[in-house]
Symmetry: C2
Subunit: 253 residues, 2 copies
């Protein structure tokens, strides 16, 4: 038996009543550490409120899922994920593998950055096109396909939520992300991103120190904010109601 449990965006504070029961009734509990970042101390708090020994599951443990599957064949296993349970494809891979092995799988969904960040800004959820992931770039890795997807949203008058890649337990810093977007623009010349482009940047969404800033790229960059996790919204043209919301709900620079 395998429970795939999204614990939302607040660490142990956003565990649901049913999830807490499922974890307490498990023999083995994994805590996934590579697709997203939980608030500090989540691991320790989870251990203390559930009374379980938690096993950290890094990329290798999840992608070569033999250990998890072997345990779930004979025991009650919970696999804990930050945010929603299945928004990362790799978690559906684990689910598939379990089902193929005849293991009963239960999914426990939770809040996701996909909806939590957009709705907090006041932008209309039904105006968002596909979510984009922005990777770290290297001399020999500069995927302009990312820009092309943003461009596609832009010309369709859709907002774009841009998630930032992780390294060493932190998301890319907001200034690095904005630099990459500007560099992509310079290579593709789609005329959608420059220092005067209006964006919204969100930090620590749903946590006590949540911070959302709206403004032109040049002004956001000048703030030199280094909080993590961070993500960006590149809005389409705002309608009147969205302008009213953004003015009140975001820190406008």
């Amino acid at each position: 038996m395998l429970n795939i449990i999204g614990i939302g965006l607040r660490g142990y504070k956003s565990i649901t009543l049913e999830q807490l029961d499922a974890i307490k009734n498990s023999d083995i509990v994994y805590f996934e550490t590579y697709t997203s970042i939980s608030p500090e101390n989540t691991f320790d708090y989870l251990r203390s409120i559930t009374g379980k020994k938690l096993i950290k599951a890094d990329r290798n443990t999840v992608e070569s899922s033999n250990e998890i599957i072997k345990n779930a064949l004979n025991s009650n296993v919970s696999f804990i994920v930050t945010g929603d349970a299945l928004t990362a494809t790799t978690h559906n891979e684990l689910r598939l593998e379990a089902i193929k092995n005849g293991i009963d799988v239960k999914i426990f969904e939770n809040a996701s950055i996909f909806t939590a960040f957009p709705s907090r800004t006041g932008l209309f959820n039904y105006r968002f096109g596909p979510v984009i992931s922005l990777p770290f770039i290297y001399e020999n890795f500069f995927p302009l396909s990312v820009y092309d997807k943003i461009y596609k949203n832009y010309v369709n008058d859709f907002h774009t939520l841009i998630l930032l890649d992780l390294k060493n337990g932190q998301t890319m810093e907001i200034n690095e992300a904005l630099d990459i977007l500007i560099k992509m623009e310079e290579k593709r010349n789609g005329n959608i991103i420059n220092y005067d482009t209006f964006i919204i940047a969100g930090f620590n969404i749903a946590r006590e120190d949540e911070y959302i800033i709206a403004g032109h790229i040049k002004d956001v960059i000048n703030k030199k904010i280094s909080m993590s996790p961070a993500s960006i919204i590149l809005p389409a043209k705002l309608n009147d109601k969205e302008i009213e919301f953004v003015k009140i709900f975001c820190d406008n620079v």
Copy 2:
């Protein structure tokens, strides 16, 4: 003080630890009943686990928010919503009104049908275009703009999640929704929807009797499923991994 609290998709079972505390510490608790549907008995269970007298908030109470705002000026008020806290624009309106009145607002996000249904099907979340709401149609109300939005997603190779309108505490039945889509196609002739179109229909997502069926419209219609809440995904062309997932994760007809 106003808490806007999304309780997710499982009724009281998907309340988070922090939300439960917030509700218990409230003087007045509203339970919103018009933008979505909670599992049966949620209202009664909530009353029993929180020890609070709950007030049902219908459309009128929310949209002319005077009563809620007046109470939140002097008391600790919680406003409970099914699903996520802010995915409906009307809840951001309430939030705006509160802030304009100098009321401190706290948002408690939770799982949303926006991510829970797509991810359960195995379709890739980052291939979804904007979410569409399908309204009931009448002789003098037949909004083809809905079709145009679906069409825009389709030609962009994006999946579309279609949410179904509510009436009398139930969503539109799946067959009525499919009939409306076919009728819209007949009027617009975009050549994207016919009885051989592959769709995925989801019922009671995240609940114990969750059911997800994938197949051609003609085959889904023949099943005459009347469960509520229901919603539909009109997929773009599936990639190989999505085909593998859908075959295992959905009931394929």
